[in-house]
């Protein structure tokens, strides 16, 4: 019994950690730019595939598998330029337009990214060997938990703390929060909003790609894996409230746990559960649970 619960929780935490990163990326972009980024799932996939490449290359260069975390994080970070290019060349032009069109542009970006990924990496799934198992496993109350899962959860928490620190203690973070709260006044105070927007979007992108890269040892990179994450991130943001980091954090936890429980109890619903959660959340409480938190 307790074995099941522990196993369930561990799985939930792992999933939550992954979703949190993508949701945080969504969150950051929406909070400042008021743009809902439908391409967040595609960034995730991009990070995943790039992760496989970085790890394979580093393994060929002789890097011991246990240090694979380094190329993975590097992969996620290296993709910042994708976000930068997208923001400056495409997104920039639709800020003045109706929210539907901004939405649709991110949709178009997702489509283009999907095919771009297929072009560079092909459409078959890609795996990295050895990394997952090399971290070993740990036995908690009878449940066997891969250590890598714990590593990912820790990474996610570290990133969450770093982001929290950034937003509250650094100058950039304070500017970003000001821009989120009142873009016009911030602009009037002399802040270059164009630069802020570009940086924020890049940050959002990198959070997504990091999430994708970190997940790689535990599963294969597949072309359509992004949409599931995208939907889940929306569920998370909706639960947590569109606009709060804390909401994204707790929302991810909640979504992960509900998902794990549902899969445990009714495994047939696995494919459907994602969409059912989104629908349930949107129907029951569209404004989220944490809207007043930040």
């Amino acid at each position: 019994m307790i074995t099941d619960i522990v196993g369930l929780l561990a799985g939930a935490l792992f999933y939550s950690a992954t979703v949190f990163l993508v949701a945080a990326g969504l969150q950051v972009i929406y909070g400042v730019q008021r743009v809902v980024n439908l391409a967040c799932g595609s960034f995730f996939v991009l990070g995943a595939y790039m992760g496989t490449t970085f790890v394979t290359v580093s393994q060929n260069l002789g890097l011991p598998p246990i240090l694979s975390l380094i190329p993975l994080i590097a992969a996620g970070l290296s993709l910042f330029f994708v976000g930068l290019i997208i923001e400056t060349c495409l997104l920039r032009f639709v800020y003045k337009q109706d929210v539907h069109f901004q939405f649709l542009l991110t949709y178009a970006i997702a489509l283009m990214l999907d095919d771009a990924i297929k072009y560079f990496w092909g459409s078959s799934p890609r795996v990295v060997q050895k990394v997952y198992t090399v971290y070993g496993q740990i036995d908690i109350f009878g449940a066997t938990i891969p250590n890598y899962n714990i590593v990912v959860v820790i990474c996610s928490c570290v990133i969450a703390i770093l982001i929290g620190y950034m937003f509250t203690r650094t100058r950039f973070g304070i500017i970003v929060r000001a821009a989120a709260e009142n873009p016009d006044i911030t602009n009037a105070l002399g802040v270059n909003m164009k630069v802020v927007f570009a940086k924020v979007f890049t940050l959002g992108t990198v959070l997504g790609t990091l999430g994708g890269a970190l997940v790689i040892p535990s599963r294969a990179a597949m072309p359509d894996m992004g949409w599931e994450l995208m939907m889940m991130s929306f569920a998370v943001i909706t639960i947590g409230g569109l606009g709060t980091m804390r909401g994204a954090f707790f929302g991810s936890l909640l979504v992960g746990i509900v998902r794990s429980i549902t899969i445990f109890v009714v495994p047939q619903l696995e494919l459907l559960i994602i969409y059912l959660i989104v629908i349930a959340v949107l129907v029951i409480r569209p404004q989220g649970l944490f809207l007043n938190a930040d």
């Binding site: 809902v36 495409l90 032009f93 639709v94 337009q97 109706d98 929210v99 539907h100 069109f101 939405f103 649709l104 542009l105 949709y107 178009a108 970006i109 997702a110 489509l111 283009m112 999907d114 095919d115 771009a116 297929k118 072009y119 949409w227 939907m231 929306f234 909706t238 569109l242 047939q268 494919l271 459907l272 969409y275 059912l276 989104v278 629908i279 949107l282 129907v283 569209p286």
Partner: protein, 324 residues
């Protein structure tokens, strides 16, 4: 003066278009006629979509649900040995209407982003359902669609391609024309004006006593039925219905068609359907990464010309008239 000649111009264009459509099987190649069959189906589908988007202002990312629903209804009916196309159309209207009533009741309470994500979720839910329950829906392989009976006549002895290019072509043309005319009447009616009022200023409409929720619901239902009809008409042309018809990518196609042609005019989406269908046909055979082109085209339209082709024509005409 100029206005009158413009009006005459529109009528002239309409008559020409009608004549071309009427004689297409005679004057064009088989391939072009075949693709036009797809345009008919997509016409109804996008008219349904734009009724919700252009006139009411609700962006549905999940209209592929209705499109595939219509297509699967045809396949299903045939499995139950119902081959009469008229009966199948009726069943499609009923089924899609019911689904639209249920889903609409949930979705129309929310606006903009939440509405879009909800519709997206429902469509992907349906997609997952189609794949998962293969003993009912045929799973990934889908279901075969046989030749329907038109107006009671069984065309079993006519070769399939000829049936499609002749009998079915004129049948679909008629059905599409009629249903389009019906939607045109709806748009021009007080109902149509009301939903435009709701789109323009929701608060004021509420003050005027209009029940926003009910109108949204009704629009959603009509929209869903039309898109489902489009899917139903397409089914015999495709020959095989599979879950990809419900995928978000199909929703994206409908959106692109609408934006391309112009969402602000009634015929805009129709023009978009025409251009897109032929473009897709051409690109799919020429390019492997046509999704990228598709995305790039959508991005281009959104950034440069969100009003679409009809919008551009409209602005151009206004400039000639010397107006603002």
């Amino acid at each position: 003066m100029i206005l009158r000649s413009l009006m005459k111009g529109k009528i002239l264009v309409g008559i020409m278009a009608g004549l071309i459509l009427l004689f297409l099987p005679r004057i064009a190649t088989e391939h072009i006629t075949f693709v036009m069959l797809g345009v008919f189906g997509f016409t109804l589908a996008v008219l349904g979509f734009n009724f919700l988007f252009g006139y009411l202002g609700l962006l549905s990312l999940g209209h592929s649900l209705f499109f595939s629903l219509g297509a699967y209804t045809v396949a299903f009916s045939m499995r139950q040995s119902i081959f009469s196309m008229e009966l199948i159309i009726l069943i499609t209207i009923l089924v899609s209407g019911l689904v639209a009533i249920l889903i609409g009741a949930i979705c129309v309470r929310y606006t903009q982003i939440h509405f879009s994500i909800l519709t997206f979720a429902f469509a992907m839910l349906f997609y997952s359902f189609l794949i998962k329950f293969y003993f009912v829906t045929g799973g990934d392989d889908g279901l075969r669609v046989l030749t329907p009976h038109l107006v009671g006549t069984n065309f079993a002895d006519v070769p399939k391609m000829q049936f499609l290019l002749r009998e079915y072509y004129y049948y679909t043309l008629t059905v599409t024309g009629l249903t389009t005319w019906v939607l045109w009447r709806i748009v021009k009616s007080p109902f149509g004006l009301t939903i435009r009022a709701i789109r323009n200023n929701q608060v004021k409409s509420e003050y005027l006593g209009i029940s926003i929720w009910k109108y949204r619901w009704a629009t959603f239902i009509i929209s869903g039925i039309y898109t489902a009809l489009g899917g139903a008409l397409m089914a015999p042309v495709i020959g095989n219905v599979d879950p990809s018809l419900a995928h978000w990518f199909q929703s994206g196609s409908l959106i692109l068609m609408t934006l391309l042609g112009g969402f602000a005019q009634f015929v805009g989406p129709v023009l978009g359907a025409l251009i897109f269908t032929y473009l897709q046909d051409f690109l799919m055979s020429a390019l492997h990464y046509w999704r990228f082109v598709f995305g790039a085209l959508l991005a281009f339209v959104v950034i440069v010309a969100p009003e679409g082709i009809m919008g551009a024509i409209d602005s151009f005409l206004k400039k000639i008239k010397g107006g603002v």
